[in-house]
C-alpha cells in the first residue's frame, strides 16, 4: 500500500515540476491586442497597426499603438514583439480593420490567420476603413480603449438594426459558402471620429461596392428578419417615423420552364411614433401605400445592383440551392445575374402611440 502512494506522489511531483516552467500567459504580464488594422503598401507588404490597452487604476485605459511593415500577419506579430515591453497576445482581439485598398486586393490571406489561431474568438468584428487604419486607430481617444470602443460601436449599431449582423463567423461563413458573398461595416472619418458610413460589399473576398448606411434598412429587409428596427418615411406632404418594426421575409422559389423565378414576400409590422400630417388614423392607407412603394423601389434597385455586380450578400442563391434539388452550385451561380426577382412588400400598422 504505502509503495503505491509513494509511486503516485513521485509521478505527480515529477509531472508538476517538469511543466512548472512552462511558458505562462499571466494576465498582467502580457499585452492583449484588442484591435488590429492592416493597410495596403504594395503587393507583398502590408502595414499593420495594433492597439494594446494599458490598464491604469480606476478603470482608465491608455492605448499603446505599435505599427510596422511586414509580409504577413504572423510576421508582423513577431516584428512588433520586439517593440512591445511584454508578450503580445491575440486572445482578446475584438476588432480587425482593413483599409479599402487592402480589401480591394482580397482579404482572404489575412482572415486565414484569424481562423487558424485557436485563441481568437469567432465573435470579433471585421471592418473596412476608407483611409488608413493607422490614422483611424490613432484618432480614438476613449477611456475604454480603442478595441472596446470600436467593438461597442459596431455592436450597438447591430443591436439597433442600423447595420446587419456581422462578425468573423458570419464573414467567413459567407466567404466559404459557395453561393453567398460577405459584407462588412465601412468606416469613414467624420470630424476626426470614426463613423459607420456604409455597408461594404464583397465579391468573395474582394471589396467592390458599398451601400450607404441610410439604406441599411432596405438591406436588412432583404437580408432577413428585422426585430425592432426603425424607418423614416419622407414625403412632400408629411413625414412619418415608424418604429418597433418587425419584419418577416419569405423567399418563394419557383422554377418554370427551366428559368428560376423568385418572390420575396416581406411582411412589415410597425408602430408610428411621429407623424407630421393630420391624423394617423385617416392617413393610414396612404402611409401604408407610400411606404410599400418606396421600399419596393429601393429594394428593387438594390437587388438589380447586386445582380449586375454578380454578388449575393443577401443569400438568394443559398435559398435556391436549398429548395431546388436539381441545380448544381455552378448552374445557380451562372444563372444568378439573369433570374427574375420579384418583391411583395406589405406593411401593417399596429399602433400609433398615444394619439389618434
Amino acid at each position: 500500500m504505502p509503495l503505491k502512494y509513494v509511486a503516485f506522489f513521485i509521478l505527480i511531483f515529477v509531472s508538476i515540476t517538469i511543466n512548472f516552467t512552462m511558458p505562462k500567459r499571466i494576465i498582467d504580464k502580457i499585452q492583449m491586442i484588442t484591435v488590429a488594422g492592416y493597410d495596403y503598401v504594395d503587393e507583398n507588404t502590408l502595414k499593420g497597426t495594433i492597439a494594446t490597452p494599458i490598464f491604469l487604476q480606476k478603470g482608465e485605459i491608455q492605448d499603446i499603438l505599435y505599427t510596422d511593415d511586414a509580409s504577413m500577419i504572423y510576421d508582423l506579430d513577431t516584428k512588433l514583439n520586439t517593440e512591445a515591453s511584454e508578450d503580445l497576445e491575440n486572445g482578446k482581439l475584438a476588432v480587425v480593420l482593413f483599409n479599402e485598398e487592402l480589401a480591394k486586393h482580397g482579404v482572404k490571406d489575412y482572415t486565414d490567420f484569424l481562423l487558424r489561431e485557436p485563441s481568437i474568438g469567432s465573435g470579433l468584428y471585421l471592418a473596412v476603413t476608407e483611409g488608413s487604419t493607422n490614422e483611424l486607430l490613432s484618432s480614438i481617444k476613449s477611456m475604454k480603449g480603442a478595441g472596446v470602443y470600436l467593438s461597442d460601436l459596431i455592436k450597438h449599431n447591430i443591436q439597433s438594426q442600423k447595420h446587419p449582423d456581422t462578425n468573423l463567423k458570419t464573414f467567413t461563413y459567407s466567404l466559404e459558402c459557395e453561393t453567398c458573398d460577405p459584407f462588412l461595416p465601412y468606416f469613414r472619418m467624420v470630424d476626426g471620429k470614426p463613423k459607420i458610413d456604409a455597408i461594404a460589399l464583397f465579391k468573395k473576398d474582394t471589396y467592390i461596392d458599398q451601400i450607404p448606411i441610410e439604406d441599411s434598412f432596405v438591406f436588412n429587409l432583404l437580408n432577413g428578419d428585422i426585430e425592432n428596427g426603425d424607418y423614416v418615411l419622407e414625403r412632400k406632404e408629411f413625414k412619418a417615423a415608424i418604429q418597433n418594426i418587425d419584419t418577416d421575409r419569405k423567399v418563394i422559389v419557383n422554377q418554370q420552364n427551366g428559368s428560376i423565378n423568385i418572390l420575396l414576400d416581406i411582411e412589415i409590422i410597425g408602430v408610428i411614433r411621429e407623424y407630421t400630417g393630420n391624423r394617423v388614423l385617416r392617413d393610414k392607407g396612404k402611409i401604408k401605400k407610400d411606404l410599400e412603394k418606396e421600399l419596393h423601389k429601393k429594394a428593387e434597385e438594390m437587388i438589380k445592383n447586386f445582380q449586375e455586380k454578380n454578388i449575393d450578400p443577401i443569400g438568394i442563391k443559398e435559398q435556391i440551392r436549398s429548395k431546388i434539388r436539381a441545380l448544381t452550385i455552378k448552374q445557380i451561380n451562372d444563372q444568378y445575374p439573369a433570374i427574375t426577382i420579384n418583391m411583395h412588400i406589405t406593411y401593417t400598422n399596429l399602433e400609433s402611440g398615444t394619439r389618434r
Partner: protein, 361 residues
C-alpha cells in the same frame, strides 16, 4: 464467479455503453462523416446507430446463451484453448491501442488549443496514475467513472444553444439531397464514433442479471445516437459544408462564438470538461484489456494493468504530430470497424460450435 458485491445493477449498462462510445470523436466527427453524404450526413448517424443496435442485439444473443461468461471464456469454448486465447489477446491489444489513441488525440487538442509548450511526457505522468487508480479498484469504480463521465458532461450540451443564433437552417436543406448509397457510405464513417461497444462482452458478467440489462444497453446506444445527431445537426446548420471540411474540430468552433456576461470563449471550459468524457473511455478500455489478458494469462491483474499503462504511455509519446495521430486513429478505427463485424461472425460461430458439439455428443 464474480461476487454479488462486485456486480452492478442492470441500469449501469446504459452508462457503460454510452461511456465507451462518446469520446474525443465528438469534437471532430462532423467534419469526417460528411465526406460522402454532405449535409445529409446526420442521417448517416441514425443509420449507423441502427446498425449498432443490431450488433448489440447480436451480442446479447451470444451472451445470453453463455450465461455469465465473458469474451475469453466464450472464445475458449468456441475455438478451443489456443485459438481462443489468441483472439482474446488480439482484442485486448486492440482495446489497449484504442485507449492510447483516445488519450493521444485528447492530448493533441490540449497541445493545439491550450498549451503548445507543454511537455507531453510529463503531463501524461499525471494522468496515468489516475487511470491506474480507477482500474485498480473494483469494477464498480470503473462504472462510477462512466456514470459521472456521462452525467456531468451533459451540461456541455447547453452550450450548443448559443451557436443557434448564428445558424441558418438552409444549410442542411434540401434533406435527402444525396443518394442512399452516399448516406450509407457516410454511415460507415460514422461507425467510428460508436466504437467500444465490444467491451460489453468483457464486463457483461459484472452486470447483475445481465439479460435484463439489454434494454438499458439499447437505451445507451440511443442516447449516444441522439447526442451525435444533435451535435451534428447544430454543426451543419452553423457551418456551410464548404466551410466545415477544412475544420479539424468543428464542435470546438461552435463554442468559440459563446459570449456570456461572465464568460467568453466557452471552448476552454469545454476542453477541460471533456476530460471527464474521455476518462470513461480510458478507464473502460484499459480495464477491459487488462481483464481479458488476466482471464487468458492468469497473471495478477495489478501487474497487467501497470504494464498496459506503461505501454500506453510510450505509445502516446511516440505518436507525435497531426499526421501520425491521424494515421494511428485511422488504423485503429479500421481495426475497430473490422472488429464490429467480428460480432456477427462470432454469432454465426457460436451456432456452428453448438451444432458440432451436439453432433459429437
Amino acid at each position: 464467479m464474480i461476487k454479488d458485491k462486485d456486480q452492478v445493477p442492470p441500469l449501469m449498462a446504459f452508462f457503460l455503453i454510452t461511456g465507451a462510445q462518446i469520446g474525443v470523436g465528438v469534437l471532430s466527427f462532423t467534419s469526417v462523416i460528411n465526406k460522402y453524404a454532405g449535409h445529409d450526413a446526420w442521417i448517416s448517424i441514425i443509420v449507423a446507430g441502427i446498425i449498432i443496435h443490431i450488433l448489440i442485439w447480436l451480442m446479447y444473443k451470444v451472451l445470453n446463451k453463455y450465461n455469465g461468461k465473458d469474451f475469453a471464456a466464450i472464445h475458449r469454448e468456441i475455438y478451443g484453448k489456443w485459438i481462443g486465447a489468441f483472439i482474446s489477446i488480439i482484442i485486448s491489444f486492440y482495446l489497449m491501442f484504442l485507449a492510447a489513441v483516445v488519450l493521444r488525440s485528447y492530448m493533441e487538442i490540449i497541445q493545439v488549443w491550450m498549451f503548445p509548450d507543454v511537455k507531453l511526457w510529463a503531463l501524461l505522468l499525471l494522468i496515468m496514475p489516475l487511470i491506474y487508480y480507477i482500474i485498480s479498484g473494483k469494477f464498480r469504480i470503473v462504472v462510477g467513472v462512466c456514470f459521472l463521465g456521462v452525467v456531468y458532461p451533459f451540461t456541455l450540451m447547453f452550450a450548443l444553444i448559443y451557436p443557434l443564433k448564428y445558424s441558418k437552417i438552409t444549410n442542411i436543406l434540401p434533406v435527402f439531397d444525396h443518394s442512399l448509397m452516399e448516406i450509407v457510405q457516410s454511415s460507415a464513417l460514422a461507425m467510428f464514433s460508436f466504437l467500444g461497444i465490444g467491451a460489453l462482452m468483457i464486463y457483461c458478467p459484472f452486470i447483475k442479471e445481465s439479460s435484463k440489462s439489454q434494454k438499458y444497453a439499447h437505451f445507451g446506444n440511443l442516447y449516444t445516437t441522439s447526442i451525435y445527431v444533435v451535435v451534428c445537426f447544430v454543426s451543419y446548420i452553423y457551418y456551410s459544408q464548404h466551410e466545415i471540411k477544412d475544420i479539424i474540430w468543428p464542435t470546438l468552433g461552435l463554442w468559440k462564438i459563446v459570449e456570456l456576461p461572465f464568460l467568453d470563449r466557452f471552448e476552454y471550459i469545454g476542453i477541460s470538461t471533456l476530460f471527464f468524457v474521455i476518462l470513461p473511455n480510458l478507464a473502460l478500455y484499459t480495464w477491459g484489456s487488462s481483464r481479458t489478458l488476466y482471464r487468458v494469462l492468469h497473471i495478477k491483474q495489478k501487474w497487467i494493468s501497470i504494464t498496459l499503462l506503461t505501454v500506453i504511455y510510450f505509445i502516446c509519446i511516440v505518436i507525435e504530430g497531426r499526421e501520425k495521430i491521424l494515421l494511428a486513429s485511422d488504423f485503429i478505427t479500421k481495426i475497430g470497424v473490422g472488429l464490429l463485424f467480428y460480432i456477427p461472425i462470432l454469432f454465426v460461430m457460436h451456432f456452428i460450435s453448438r451444432k458440432v458439439k451436439r453432433n459429437a455428443s
